[in-house]
Amino acid sequence: MKVYNSVQELTLLINGEERTVVVRPSDTLLRTLREKLGLTGTKIGCEHGDCGACTVQINGKPVKSCLVLAVETVDKEITTIEGLENDRLKQSFVHNHGFQCGFCTSGMLMNADSLLHDHPNPTDEEVTRYLESNLCRCTGYEGIQMAVTESFYKKKDPDSHS
């Protein structure tokens, strides 16, 4: 049985790279990414699992990193906004004004990328189901939804939406 006591050195697979970090077992993944690994693209919002600003992908699934212990993620693949390679989605957010203050954007992008991976041909219901996990205090939801939808259409047919 593995036991993690007090401060411990862990190797985590983050954005395709093995990163060594010293953590307490009670450190959340969110705090570890930001404060120990300098990956500050993942934002601290409510730290309560409500807002989605801290969303990262673990083994491809969107998860709120404020509700994950860093020690839980040993042997898993973690992707943060710094490792997100979906340029089409990012461009689509730019084209559609999918952000205002930008604080929620990294969480929205991580979630939307998982949606398009899990459901390459998403229904409106699937888009809503994924995006309702994230809050935008600027209420820029329409632009965000348009960005995700455009990204999907562009993948299908680059000329169908512009």
């Binding site: 049985m1 593995k2 036991v3 993690y4 006591n5 007090s6 307490r24 077992p25 009670s26 450190d27 959340t28 705090r31 730290e47 309560h48 699992g49 989605g52 969303t55 673990i58 699934k61 969107p62 998860v63 709120k64 404020c66 509700l67 994950v68 212990l69 020690v71 839980e72 979630n111 189901r129 994924y130 309702e132 996990s133 994230n134």
Partner: protein, 275 residues
């Protein structure tokens, strides 16, 4: 940030988990079993609980198993999204997919929802209607007990006991069911009413959450529900009157409004299921 330290252990068998719990308890570490952790992390951060030993059950095979062949079995450490994707039971899937939000459901587990401190614990509703049993491990071994016995306001576990999973006899998907959920502020919110109905062998069963302080299935209320000499509205009025002392009032809703919603939900469900 969680402002205190704990030991985090990862047992790979039921025996290791239970033994680890008792060892930690002897050392005065106030141990907790940990599965999805969404509630435990939040409570730790707010210092509402202060365990100094966290025992993660996600590597125990019995907690991760899912079986829908002979007796149905769902491990306590399965995430709600995993069950929703795999189960053939449409009512179970419909209820689980309305708990919290999609991202949380990638972490929140069946056992976590059943064992949670929040009053809603909606995963319990279909399980009460399926006459499910809780599979519980402890120092004395593994036992299986009907939820109708072992779930009284909350799951009644003994010292150091652990919920391994939920089981019930094989079911064909109950085509005749109704699930109604009402929230104050839109889909992603705690329910002010969450109620499930199924019709089996011409009998209607009902389990309620949100309106009360805990999930509930009540045989007396079901007797009233099935008095077909009365109209659906008459039965709904009698059932909601029967629960007069159960409705709660909080900032989301008054008791009177919860009662009103339940009456409407029962009337609609009876009309649909008896049509």
């Amino acid at each position: 940030m969680i402002p205190f330290d704990f030991t985090y252990s990862v047992p790979e068998s039921v025996e290791e988990a239970v033994s680890s719990w008792f060892s930690s308890e002897q050392r005065g570490e106030n141990p907790v079993y940990y599965s999805g952790g969404t509630e435990i992390i939040t409570l730790c951060r707010e210092q509402k609980i202060e365990p100094h030993a966290v025992i993660d059950i996600k590597h125990i095979p019995e907690c991760l198993k899912i079986n829908e062949t002979e007796d149905y079995y769902y491990g306590a450490a399965l995430t709600l999204n995993t069950i929703t994707e795999k189960t053939s039971l449409s009512l179970f899937s419909a209820v689980l997919s309305r708990i919290a939000d999609n991202t949380i459901r990638n972490k929140l587990t069946l056992g976590g929802n059943i064992m949670g401190r929040l009053p809603y614990r909606e995963a319990v509703l279909p399980l009460l209607l399926f006459d499910a049993h809780a599979v519980i491990a402890g120092k004395e071994g593994i036992r299986s007990q009907p939820l109708s016995v072992v779930f009284d306001k909350r799951l009644l576990l003994g010292k150091g006991e652990l919920l391994l999973g939920i089981t019930f006899p094989a079911k064909t998907d109950a085509a005749h069911w109704v699930f109604t959920r009402k929230e104050k502020n839109g889909r992603i919110d705690y329910p002010i009413l969450s109620v499930c109905f199924i019709k089996e062998n011409d009998s209607i069963k009902m389990a309620v959450s949100g309106a009360f302080a805990y999930p509930l299935r009540n045989p007396e209320a079901e007797n009233i529900l099935n008095r077909q000499t009365l109209s659906p509205l008459q039965r709904a009025e009698k059932v909601t009157d029967y629960f007069a002392d159960y409705y709660k009032t909080d900032f989301r809703s008054s008791a009177a409004y919860r009662k009103h919603l339940l009456k409407g939900a029962i009337t609609e469900a009876l009309e649909k299921l008896e049509d």
